[in-house]
């Protein structure tokens, strides 16, 4: 593989991380396998248009970005109900070792690509969430601050039959001495059992020295539901993939995305769903705003498999440009192998409507305020999809902050 080897990365480093965390043998094996997979693993695919490769992951200097042994974070996990387990892995192995071993890497293959393998080999933070059968919990929050040069996070959610859980995670940059480029990697896998319901909201607001890679994937069982909310506001460059495999009959997933780029921020946003069973439903809704010289590239994929009879699948993406120098590309893709499908997909890139602006101005509202009202209004249809008030408020606040 063309990706550069990282000098500081050795089997010893990985053993040291696993040792310090007192991890079981199987996890060390998983890490070491991931490490050796780096030799052949490829970087994630990125969108290419004629003459242009939108997100240049090859250019990332992992040698200087990755500092495996000095990872540091401050993570606060809160849960309103003790029937659900919300722990760092290190505290969960003793009691829940078997559940973790059975599910870890089952949804998201550690060797999926170079960046996932790197992340699994090196992760030092993250959360294990276990919702036993029939348990219904609303308010799990995981608020993390990244304090080091690089940070690798791994989250596993296991939701058993007929359980229900709402999880909100946020990641920000903590106070630190680091003023160089930084790297944050966040892998999340969700195993949602029969009739289980998981809502997972993620809010990324890292500082503008940070490169962020995030891959979240769910395996949704019979009559299960996994709803994602993926909000990206921070980072210099963000590559975000949110994916649902609808593996059980009647499974459902919604992927709601928001992003807001200013200055020279770059967002590579991806939402994908695989319909693999009968009567499954997916709804992909993303809205983003770009100002200054910010860029975004979006790919949405709805893949309807051979056996996915009676599929419903919808996708829409809208990008609003506030500056003539911002750039956006969007490719909504619909792949249908079973024609018993009701589906739609669309994407638009547009500017603030001049007539809308004039209408507000003609009512005494100055042009900047009018524009800001229209931008906030633009996000409302996606905000309305967010059932969790706290999360919606956070997103609103971040939108508001970015409107000068």
């Amino acid at each position: 593989m063309s990706t550069q080897a990282i000098e500081s990365l050795s089997e010893d480093t990985v053993r040291r991380i696993a040792d310090e965390r007192d991890e079981p043998e199987w996890l060390l094996e998983t890490r070491l396998n991931a490490l050796s997979a780096l030799e052949t693993a490829e970087l994630p695919d990125v969108i290419q248009t004629p003459g242009r490769r939108w997100t240049d992951l090859e250019a990332l200097d992992f040698e200087s970005l990755v500092d495996p042994v000095n990872q540091s974070d401050t993570t606060e996990r809160t849960v309103g109900d003790d029937e659900v387990v919300v722990l760092p892995f290190t505290e969960a192995f003793d009691e829940y070792g078997e559940v973790i071993e059975a599910n870890f890497g089952s949804v998201l293959d550690p060797e999926h690509n170079y960046l996932t393998a790197l992340s699994v080999a090196l992760f030092t933070t993250g959360t294990f969430v276990y919702v036993p059968e029939g348990v219904d919990v609303e308010d799990v929050t995981v608020r993390a601050e990244m304090n080091s040069r690089s940070l690798f996070s791994q989250t596993l959610v296991v939701a058993e039959e007929s359980s229900s859980v709402t999880i909100l995670e946020s990641i920000e940059s903590g106070d630190s001495e680091v003023d160089e480029d930084r790297y944050f990697s966040n892998l999340v896998e969700i195993a949602a059992g029969e009739n289980a319901s998981v809502q997972f909201g993620s809010l990324q607001n890292l500082d503008d020295d940070t490169y962020t890679y995030s891959l979240k994937r769910a395996d949704v069982g019979v009559y299960g539901t996994v709803d994602w909310i993926e909000s990206n506001f921070g980072s210099k460059l963000t590559r975000s993939d949110v994916e649902s495999e609808l593996n059980g009959d009647g499974a459902e997933s919604q992927i709601v995305g928001t992003f807001f780029g200013t200055d020279d921020q770059h967002f590579d946003i991806n939402a994908r769903v695989w319909h693999q069973a009968e009567h499954t439903t997916a709804d992909l809704v993303t809205r983003g705003v770009l100002d200054d010289v910010a860029r975004s590239v979006y790919e949405g994929v709805q893949d309807v498999g051979n056996d996915a009879w009676n599929t419903s699948s919808y996708q829409r993406e809208n990008t609003l440009m506030l500056s003539d120098d911002a750039e956006a590309d969007a490719s909504p893709k619909l792949i249908i192998h079973n024609h018993d499908t009701e589906a739609s997909h669309s994407a638009t890139v547009g500017q603030v409507d001049a007539e809308d602006l004039f209408y507000l101005e003609s009512r005494s509202i100055d042009s900047l305020t009018a524009r800001n009202m229209l931008v906030e209004g633009f996000f409302v249809p996606v905000l309305e999809e967010i059932a969790v008030d706290e999360f919606r408020d956070d997103v609103e606040e971040l939108v508001f902050e970015r409107l000068q």
Binding site: S362, S364, T369, A370, N372, E376
Partner: protein, 308 residues
Amino acid sequence: MATLEINDLHARVAEEDGERILRGVDLTVESGDIHALMGPNGSGKSTLAKVIAGHPAYEVTGGEILLHLDEEDVADIDAELDDEDYHWKLLELEPNERAALGIFLGFQYPAEIEGVTMTNFLRQALNAKADEREELFEDEDEESAEADDDDENEGYETSPMEGPADDGEIGVAEFQEILSEKMELLDMDEKFMQRYLNAGFSGGEKKQNEVLQAAMLEPAVAVLDEIDSGLDIDRLQDVSKGINALRDEQGTGVLQITHYQRILDYVEPDHVHVMLDGEVVKSGGAELAEKLEDKGYDWVREDAFEAA
């Protein structure tokens, strides 16, 4: 008592080789009067309305638009005023400043704005008008002293999604009271207020909403562009009631652009003007509208041609 005075106004579409549309419009509208502006399609009526409000799609190539105010029109202003504060050249002002001075444009095709509720929009507009007026009429020497503060106060402090903060110029209770009253007059359901601005409104609802906004903003002069088009008879009566109330209760001067005699049965004009090829070529009383209804515009064209 306010007067909108338009002198020899020329305007064209603001693009290269843009079409000349207004070719010397003269028109004066005083508050308390209802003017009907009629004319065939393409004569420039809607363009005139938009140019008065400051639409960026048109470029003014000659003439002026003046707004004269008197004591009554600035009763809300505390600052000490000089002569300049009573006479404004609208072409030098931004659309929102014109609106704050008391110009209202009722749109023929109001914008549909997703995500901004009627309540938030109206409160934002009322507060913006009050703020903008304060700025426009501010004492000269205070202006420079406050310039520094303005940087910090720029932008807006309340999110339209949350609704403006309660410390705005207009209190919630007062706002609701005024609003309920105006909506009742227009026979509008209170549910309107939770809907997004014009989004999914029927043609008739949009027109009612334009009149409602005029009633809330209490303009000196309201230019209503084909407010009567596409209305059924019941709604036409509601809208007409609203327009008459603008004049009777607030002393608003109304410039009503219309194709049809029909609305003039309910909103009786004091003056009727005919526009042809970008000029006002004939003015008269209510009887002129009836004559136009009977005979069309050809005779006006012939008259104008002979006079020329």
